[in-house]
């Protein structure tokens, strides 16, 4: 069995920088012989985790650390920011009915990550927020 492959990257606050991580994800998949259609949901998970982190990173230490550990069967995605943290329990679960007619149409990231992943963990404190996602690829 092929050894897991790892990728670590530190992302600065630059528009669309999440695409660099997506490129890395695609390269790892290609290396492991994983078909492109099997990483579609992982692409969305990576994108959502990173844009969430970039939003909460703040200005003092604004970079976001991303780490992938990937085998042919699964990927673990770790995304960490160094912002002030937040209480994930206080984030309301969004619904389309509630968003229609509301000024605030965003706020879907956590819901998507929970729904699309096979395991989702979030740890948040005053030194930042760490999201760990597992996604099966088969």
């Amino acid at each position: 069995m092929m050894e897991p492959v790892r990728l670590k990257v530190e992302l600065p606050q630059i528009p669309n920088i999440e695409l660099v991580a997506i490129e890395g994800l695609e390269r790892l998949a290609q290396h492991l012989g994983i078909a492109d259609e099997k990483i579609g949901e992982a692409r969305i998970l990576v994108t959502e985790a990173i844009i969430n982190a970039l939003e909460h990173a703040g200005t003092q230490n604004p970079e976001v650390h991303v780490e992938f550990t990937m085998t042919a069967a699964e990927i673990t995605i770790l995304v960490k920011d160094f912002g002030k943290g937040f209480d994930p329990g206080s984030v309301p679960d969004p619904s389309i009915a509630q968003k229609l007619g509301s000024e605030h149409k965003r706020g879907w990231g956590l819901r998507l990550m929970k729904s699309m992943s096979d395991d989702f963990r979030i740890e948040s404190g005053t030194d930042g927020t760490k999201i760990t996602i597992k996604k099966f690829l088969s």
């Binding site: 969305i44 994108t47 959502e48 009915a97 229609l100 965003r106 879907w108 699309m116």
Partner: protein, 115 residues
């Protein structure tokens, strides 16, 4: 690397067909919403969005589509997505967009269903 966002727009009868290429982020989502609004003021109320060449999207970009649905609800219009990547389809489904919008395999099928 995913291509930069591009949007093309054409009218097929009274139906607006939008085709996206590349990453649909906040900029892409806003561009789609603006293009729709422009045509809504001209009396168009049927929209097809072909996302075949947008494999990377984010929820902020997709949130702008809720604005489009809101405007279409006011004018009794309809929105159909086509050529959806399965992962993007799942994302839109989780967001509940298919409670208010349709999906078809191709643009031709969508335009036919809107006639």
């Amino acid at each position: 690397m995913e291509q930069p966002f591009e949007l093309t727009s054409e009218l097929r009868g009274n139906c607006l067909v939008l085709t996206t290429v590349g990453y649909i982020n906040n900029v892409g989502g806003e561009a789609i919403a603006k293009e729709c609004s422009k045509h809504f003021s001209d009396g168009i109320s049927r929209v097809v969005i072909n996302v075949e060449r947008s494999k990377v999207v984010n929820s902020i970009g997709m949130s702008f589509l809720i604005e489009i649905i809101e405007q279409l609800e006011e004018i009794q219009g309809k929105l159909i997505f086509t050529n959806l990547d399965p992962a993007v389809e799942k994302m839109l489904s989780i967001m509940g967009l298919f409670q208010y919008a349709g999906k078809e395999a191709t643009v031709d099928a969508a335009v036919r269903s809107l006639k």
